[in-house]
């Protein structure tokens, strides 16, 4: 079954290919080490192709964005990173880095920046077929995994110091022909869309995105109301269909986001140093808040994914530095918690999760290595795991949940977005240096 990533799918469900055999039911923990002196952290959620290969998108602090392919058993297959030829990523401006989207309509696509946001089309071997990038001063990095809407337009989150607020992420739309682009932000009085954190597209082509917006007249970065907004992906500058926002006055963002097959929205709250820093909220496709739960023994939610039965999976870390996975059903009832404890140090970087059938794929970083963990979604197979001489423990966690009631308001008449054109160029930059990484795996 061929499905496009990011369109018509719950977020973080990535199955590609034309009806090939299901992924092998081999569970593993894989560690990938950069050949450079950098450390690798995962950025977007992993993607599984029709042959069970796992495509992981690592961000190497030295090399920049890197696509890594693992076999269905977790062994290293191939990788490439993208950086201008003739130089390491030590450019004077310190910029650089790409990360990747895979989509069956656009093919293999890489979205990143050096030094302006750009989109690379790649073939299945990660060779560059074409590049389109912006050519306007003020743009910096592409900040989030791009989405493809029903017309083949690409929507991404861009971190821009000119058009955003003090570097807040804003929506960036580029057409399917990759020859026209717009920044989307709104400015109703002094209310500016300060930052966009995550986005997804529903089966009805609604763009749902999380983030926050400033209180009018207030400039402090923490005086921002967390928001979730739903708008037509075809006309993102139209008045949004609905918006849910935190009316309690607590500053912060709605952060991670995922959709289920009924277009219900699950978001994680991110509030600096508050007791609600890991609240999970369910919002219906019509914008009505369904429930809220918060969790003890884990920090804030780093990523969310759903399965075909409507269960919700969140990843985070514990205060002791272990990777935490929780499963919640569509009614908000916690089903289990699990921890993956490293032998030394802490899990760091961004933890990401993707669901394929009854299997979950989790990426994280540990000891400057990219960690990929494949386990069943039912919470079974708790065990000790040895990887290249390192011993990890996968065991029952100690997370407890409690219902909570943060004051959330809903509106069906939120401000519409403005639009600013972005000049583009298709002139490619210099040829890219590529390299491979080494990997240590186990079954």
């Amino acid at each position: 079954m061929s499905l496009g990533f990011g369109f018509g799918l719950p977020h973080h469900v990535a199955i590609l290919g034309g009806g090939g055999p299901p992924p092998a039911t081999v569970y593993f923990l894989s560690l990938t080490t950069s050949t450079s002196s950098g450390s690798i952290s995962s950025v977007p959620a992993p993607i599984v192709d029709g042959s069970g290969n796992i495509l992981v998108f690592g961000y190497d602090t030295f090399l920049g964005g890197e696509v890594i392919k693992l076999t269905s058993s977790g062994a290293f297959s191939t990788s490439k990173y993208f950086s201008p030829s003739g130089s390491a990523l030590a450019a004077p401006n310190g910029s650089g880095g790409y990360y990747v989207l895979i989509d069956t309509s656009l093919g293999c696509c890489c979205c990143g920046y050096y030094p302006y946001p750009s989109i690379l089309n790649l073939d299945s071997s990660f060779n560059i077929l074409s590049e389109t990038r912006t050519n306007s001063s003020g743009q910096t990095s592409v900040a989030s995994i791009p989405l493809i809407d029903s017309s083949g337009n690409i929507l991404a989150v861009v971190y821009d110091q000119t058009n955003g607020y003090s570097g807040g992420g804003i929506l960036f739309k580029i057409n399917s022909a990759l020859n026209s682009a717009n920044y989307l932000s709104y400015n109703a009085g002094n209310a500016i869309l300060r930052t966009v954190k995550d986005a997804a597209i529903t089966t009805t082509n609604q763009l749902v995105y999380t983030g926050s917006y400033l209180v009018a007249g207030v400039c402090c970065i923490y005086s921002a109301y967390a928001t979730v907004t739903s708008v037509s992906a075809a006309t993102p500058t139209a008045t949004p269909t609905w918006q849910v926002w935190d009316s309690s006055g607590t500053v912060g963002d709605f952060d991670a986001l995922a959709l289920d097959s009924s277009n219900n929205v699950y978001v994680g709250m991110f509030y600096y140093n508050t007791v609600n820093n890991n609240t999970l909220v369910k919002i219906s496709s019509a914008g009505a808040v369904q429930w809220q739960y918060r969790y003890v023994n884990m920090t804030h939610i780093s990523d969310i994914a759903t399965d075909s039965s409507g269960n919700v999976y969140c990843v985070a870390v514990s205060i002791t530095g272990a990777l935490v996975i929780i499963k919640v059903n569509s009614s908000g009832v916690l089903q289990y918690s699990r921890t993956l404890t490293p032998p030394t140090g802490v899990i760091n970087g961004y933890q990401r999760i993707a669901i394929s059938g009854s299997i979950m794929y989790i990426t994280a970083s540990w000891a400057n290595k990219l960690l990929v963990f494949k386990v069943p979604t039912d919470g079974s197979l708790t065990q000790s795991i040895s990887v290249g001489g390192f011993s990890f423990t996968y065991a029952a966690g100690s997370v407890t949940s409690a219902a909570t009631t943060i004051a959330l308001a809903s509106t069906t008449t939120p401000p519409a977005l403005a639009s600013t054109g972005v000049p583009l160029t298709t002139t490619p930059i210099a040829a890219y240096v590529t390299t491979a990484t080494t990997a240590v795996t186990t079954l």
Partner: protein
């Protein structure tokens, strides 16, 4: 809901954990309709104590039985310096999902074409 397994005093235990032991319990049976096996009890969640999220965190110890009910027991823990630093790093407002690289000098990596 959070449960306690009486025979082992394992806590917390959730519905999904119990289904691994009792696979005949369907996923449709949840919340108030969850058929709790005899070896398990529901633990009532008491009001958490106040704490300072920047330097402390909550855990739960073994529940206690009060009359006919089992209740949660909260523990306020002080973070270590390492935990405070880790939390500060995690709690940095993340406006971008890809972090920009630090300016690292270094030799050109090996090239494989």
């Amino acid at each position: 809901m959070n449960f306690l397994k009486l025979s082992t005093m394992q806590y917390p235990v959730q519905e999904g954990d119990i289904r691994l032991e009792y696979p005949e319990i369907s996923e449709a049976q949840t919340g108030d309709n969850f058929p709790l096996p005899a070896d398990y009890v529901k633990v009532e969640q008491t009001t958490p104590p106040t704490y300072v999220p920047a330097t402390q965190y909550l855990t739960q110890s073994t529940p206690i039985q009060v009359g006919q009910t089992w209740q949660s027991v909260w523990v306020v823990n002080d973070m270590t310096a390492e935990q405070i630093a880790m939390l500060a790093e995690l709690n940095k407002p993340r406006q971008r999902k890809n972090r920009p690289p630090t300016t690292n000098s270094g030799s050109i990596p090996n090239v494989i074409t």
